[in-house]
């Protein structure tokens, strides 16, 4: 999902944990207790969370770029105001998540440095371009829809600060999906040209949306441990299926078709069956060879570098104010 690159090995020395502490930790997890920042936790649990929450935070922040692209070109003031609010929400979500990661002993500056250096991953979905206004509809409907599918179970994840951040995010995410679907609905009820635009966007976003859930369970190396620690509550494939089942009827209501000739409803299981996903594309995009990887990172670096003077000035101003207040206090004494 927003943290789909969990297959890579986590760097750092192997830590041999005290079996008694490990057992007590697992017992707390099994009893559905939340783990809080100062509680004892296995090093691997901490590292998994830092990486997962970090990737999630980076995805929110990079996710502002494809949509930001359309703020100045939104077709009406209503759409523009909504898109602006949505992009601002994504920035807020990034902040909640960085704050949650920081409770694990990593600083936001460190995490951000990893993103800008290209060392940390973010969701593959944001490396696709937003070519038309219908792409904004598709992102809200599909990308935020997929995100909600993944994030609702994360509201019950075992690490307290992460779970609390997810609760806030889920409350806000629902507006994102609805505004996207409304854009699609308006296009589909419009002229033939507008409907074609909606169809074209669905054709391009459908498969990348399914890839958001990450590699198939058979290739997902950390799923089992993450499920045992209740960081994850459902596997990648389970969430992907839930998403397809929820989304296909919505697309059919729009009068659109899905770019999958094998898509069919399975009467016996009640699930929508879909064709094979091109995992080589997923790996390529995640490894940096997607259509917009370079552009996205360049935009983040530019924003970071060009904002440096603002951060420096704010700190210098705060230091000056503190010094002035100190001098006044001393003078008054």
């Amino acid at each position: 999902m927003y943290s789909q690159a969990l297959n890579e090995r986590i760097e750092g020395p192997r830590v041999v944990e005290d079996p008694a502490k490990l057992a007590a930790f697992q017992a707390r997890i099994d009893a559905e207790e939340r783990i809080e920042p100062n509680d004892w936790m296995p090093e691997a649990y901490r590292r998994t969370l830092v990486r997962q929450i970090g990737q999630h935070a980076h995805s929110e922040v990079v996710g502002m770029l494809p949509e930001g692209n359309w703020i100045t070109r939104a077709p009406s003031l209503r759409r523009k105001a909504a898109l602006l609010a949505k992009v601002q929400d994504e920035g807020g979500h990034g902040l909640y998540l960085y704050a949650a990661a920081e409770t694990l002993g990593v600083s936001r500056e460190e995490l951000y440095e990893q993103l800008l250096a290209g060392k940390a991953k973010y969701s593959s979905i944001f490396n696709y371009p937003t070519l038309t206004w219908a792409d904004i509809g598709c992102i809200g409907w599909l990308v935020d829809g997929a995100a909600i599918m993944n994030q609702i179970p994360l509201c019950r994840t075992s690490y307290g600060p992460y779970a609390r951040a997810m609760i806030r995010i889920c409350k806000e995410e629902s507006f994102h999906q609805r505004q996207g679907y409304e854009i699609m609905l308006t296009l589909c009820r419009g002229t033939a040209e507008q409907k074609a635009m909606a169809q074209d966007a669905l054709n391009r976003w459908w498969w990348p949306s399914l890839m958001m859930f990450g590699p198939p369970d058979s290739e997902s190396q950390h799923t089992e441990q993450s499920m045992r620690w209740k960081i994850k509550r459902f596997t990648n494939d389970e969430l992907r299926q839930k998403f397809v089942d929820a989304t296909v009827p919505q697309g059919l209501y729009l009068g659109l078709t899905f770019p999958d000739p094998e898509l069919r409803f399975d009467e016996t299981t009640g699930h929508w069956r879909f064709g094979p996903i091109d995992w080589s594309e997923f790996k390529r995009v995640l490894a940096g060879q997607g259509p917009c990887n370079r552009e996205r990172l360049a935009a983040r670096r530019k924003a970071h570098e060009e904002g440096a003077w603002v951060r420096e000035a704010a700190l210098a101003h705060a230091a000056k104010k503190r010094a002035r207040e100190r001098a006044q206090r001393i003078a008054a004494e």
Binding site: N38, R108, R322
Partner: protein, 95 residues
Amino acid sequence: MAEQPMPLWEVFIRSRTGLAHRHVGSVHAADAEMALQAARDTYTRRGEGLSIWVVPSAAITASDPAEKGPLFEPTASKIYRHPSFYEIPEEVGHM
């Protein structure tokens, strides 16, 4: 040049009159005034609050969860602090 770390602030919000301020998360900001503005933008985009407190994270002293046994022991052993410890005849009625 290595980035200078931005100070961390804990954010507390009163959601309605009559309720206490409640911890909602944290923000980074150079000073208290900017921390308040960042907290407003980050945590109250949908009318979640009537009042915000920001406190430098470094100013908070916390108890150690590993010591919670000895720390809270006095409360566990003093059951006579609870009303149910005292027996009142039923005829007396609700008390």
